[in-house]
Symmetry: D2
Subunit: 294 residues, 4 copies
């Protein structure tokens, strides 16, 4: 099946979906869109509302996350217009549904209707690719908030997962003196192999005082009040963990340490790259689903 026979329908989203649609159209997919204001792209068919035609597609792409706080499909320009039920009612079982942050609701409905759904946020490739703009965004924020260069500075990365790996590499590439904290012995060995200074969580307190920038990627409280007391007042904390982060922000404020929780950096600092990432994972999922077809 060639690309231009494949039809993709996007319902709602942000700059990332706009960029993904633009790239899909450019690479030969047939693209339909609902829930976007003027996109200025002749290759994309824009629908004002959820037309039956929208459901004639191979893949349906919902936003990331797919629901907004109102419980509707996450369409920024019209946040209370389309419900999941409205969508699922018309989806054909041969269509794959791609979205972000699948909840019990959509999993149940998909199962009932025998529809395959793919949560982009659960795709390892997406998580790794997304670490890149997250790391660059963190570096941008650190540059903006500090009055020193990262080059030559003592910087600490808490956690050595996808974001930690990417961030440590970039920081070293700029010329910072990088320390990385981890708990698992394997992670500490990789940290050593890569030439960073490694520290086990148990020994974290001993390095805190000399750090000028601290990046947190650990999704639970690690920069406690006790630990923050050891941090230099001039230091800056960039917290990248999902809300509420891993820092006791109250304590940081009282102690006079600047600490920032930076969420959704990809879409904010590099929306075009973030869109390309979404697009490349969509392509991968379509390929994968086609290979599984009898």
């Amino acid at each position: 099946m060639t690309k231009d026979q494949i039809v993709l329908t996007f319902i709602g989203g942000d700059k990332r979906q706009i960029e993904a649609m633009r790239m899909a159209a450019k690479e030969g997919f047939i693209v339909k869109a609902v829930g976007f204001e003027d996109i200025s792209n002749d290759s994309i068919t824009l629908y004002k509302y959820l037309h039956d035609e929208c459901f004639i597609c191979h893949a349906l792409i919902l936003p990331i996350p797919y629901k907004n706080k109102y419980g509707y499909i996450n369409i920024p320009s019209d946040p209370q217009s389309i419900t999941l039920e409205q969508v699922m009612k018309k989806v054909d079982s041969s269509t794959i549904v791609i979205l972000g942050k699948a909840d019990h609701d959509i999993k149940r409905q998909a199962e009932e209707k025998n529809i395959r759904i793919f949560d982009i946020l659960e795709e390892e490739t997406f998580a790794i690719l997304n670490a890149i703009p997250t790391a660059e965004g963190a570096i941008q924020r650190a540059m903006e908030k500090t009055d020193i260069t990262l080059h030559g500075a003592n910087v600490l990365v808490l956690g050595y997962g996808r974001i930690g790996k990417c961030l440590a590499r970039m920081l070293k590439g700029i010329g910072a003196k990088v320390t990385v904290e981890a708990r698992k012995p394997e992670d500490l060995v990789w940290i050593y192999e890569n030439g960073y200074n490694g520290v086990h969580l148990d020994d974290l307190d001993s390095v805190l005082g000399s750090q000028q920038v601290i990046f947190n990627t650990i999704p639970h409280l690690v920069l406690t009040r006790e630990r923050l007391k050891k941090v230099d007042k001039e230091a800056v904390i960039i917290d990248l963990a999902s809300a509420p982060g891993g820092t006791d922000f109250e304590a940081a404020k009282e102690l006079g340490i600047r600490a920032y929780l930076e969420l959704s950096l990809p879409g904010i600092v590099a929306p075009k790259t973030a869109g390309r990432i979404v697009y490349s994972v969509i392509k991968e999922l379509i390929e994968r689903s086609q290979k599984n077809l009898v």
Copy 2:
């Protein structure tokens, strides 16, 4: 002669001189200051005006640049208060004078009075050290102005001097695909040795169209209207050359290409680091001048 016998007097300046004074006091120098508002540092003696005591010093540090547009000593908080003559009248010939951007005026007055002056901007170590915050500032601006990650992007650095070298290294460290333009065969060989893609000025036009970010360090017009026509509309130009830069900004505007002239980045994005650089060069100059004393 130990540090705490050495007296430094700072007349005017910006955040960089404030950081330099702070470090000097911390490292044991006796520091006097004129032309600064409250500095909150007990180790620094703040004078409200140009007191005779100020001239009892081993080194007198003027701002960088030392004169402002009014022709007075460059004191931001009081820009028309102190003239060069007032200063030079009282300077002892054993005192060295350190400043930025020495002009005919101060060179003549210094010669008449047999006073040694040192232009920090002429010091090679200063120029190299200053390239670091300049390069980081350029990267920060590029991250701010673009909606893509530098990682994976085609970036072009025009010129392979101090800033070009530092910038190319950092960009490669972040993961950009770096092309560097130069004219001299030796530079092109070093560019090859460092693993960047090299292009001679004569072949520049052929690579322009594929670049997503262009950093200019060449101090004369190189991004002409003709060349700008070849540049991708989505590309961003960060011009780091001294005013007026090396870009035809008028043409860029007409062509719809975003181009930014970024001057004095060190003092803006990393004033503390910039101050430490000024301080380290001051120390070096004092050491050098003391070695020359009979």
Copy 3:
């Protein structure tokens, strides 16, 4: 329990065990050795044969691999002297046994006697640490066998496991143009993130012809006769996979392509480092086993 109360007994081995014993003695362990000729180290008690005293220890370290081709404990200087039964007969159940390449034989005997055994080759930290001298050894061989510099050369790494990761990083650090082959999407994304040129196994044939050095880490036949026909005659193949490697060496010879199977590089090119790795993992295993004691 402090270090100097911990007794380690080493039975046989090579330069790696000698270095490990030397480091253990230096760091305060009590070290006993059997099956080594003169070691010239006063802190190590050398036994001529398997004395009962040898078994008074906290950990017993056998060689890596522990058995030789004769089925005896792998003692190079006396290869048919000590059997596994002789050892296991006297081992106390509180002693942990550390060795390399545990087979059915030792697992059965250990289970019968309720003795804890640890196969160093199964430890993730060991495998990662060992990748470093393996990668450097591969680079050393490549430098020795080629008449070009790796800098500027097109080099291909087959496989992106521990050795592939380390090797790719070092090759890029030297200045080679690195392509890495992998099959898993996650690996290809990490390859992209790290700035190498990535190629899926399915597309491998298309890049073979331009490579000047090919490093294989895949433990099964991948450089088939068909693929070797595409490889440049001047290219050199360094095969790092366990015997018999991943190259059709017969075909390579017929085609006139130099291909080398490089086994056990750590112990050959960097025996001291290899010994330190063995030692650090021994320490880790002792710590781990002590934490598990009731």
Copy 4:
């Protein structure tokens, strides 16, 4: 003038000239050769002796160095066959002569006959390019002579010229902990900028004891007996300076420190690359000489 109208005559040389001739022929130059045994290349005209036809050429390339210890043209296969006079007698004044290590003899003869000569060893591009195989060769030797990995090792580079720069970069790329010695403040700043640990010559003694590998590039005695006494007995010294190097080899031997003088590394470890470097500089010189023609 197109390439295939340009005639190059090579008189003597080693593997480097053979590779240079091969590349020249491949890129369309007309190539004549004297003083080489069978080259197996149909595009190269091989002469058994110095035929008049050999002098019908645009450029004459002599060996590097051009003279051997007998005072004859440096032809390894026939070292006492051709004198400089025999060559210069027939050279036309429109021919440029390219060679290595021009001495008073050839400079005088060239001046008398109004012939332009170019000493390749004096070309900056050649020196920079040659630093690459020299640095890689040094790393290869260090790997061969030590029983540790360079990764994680404390290595010291004496001197920050072309070889020092290239070597430090590669060593850091492999994962060594690099210290670089220099005297000039500018060099020390660049060393800092590049992320190496810098040490001024005056403070060299303080770091010697902790180094595991020492690379010398300084062309005069720096590793004196006094300094060698501070060096660790297990350390290895790789001396890259021109004969007699910068190490007191006698003292090293007495002190039991392994020290190696590695000369002419490019031609030994990477003759093909060395040949390509010679070739690229020959091309550059021909282009340059043609631009100067009236």
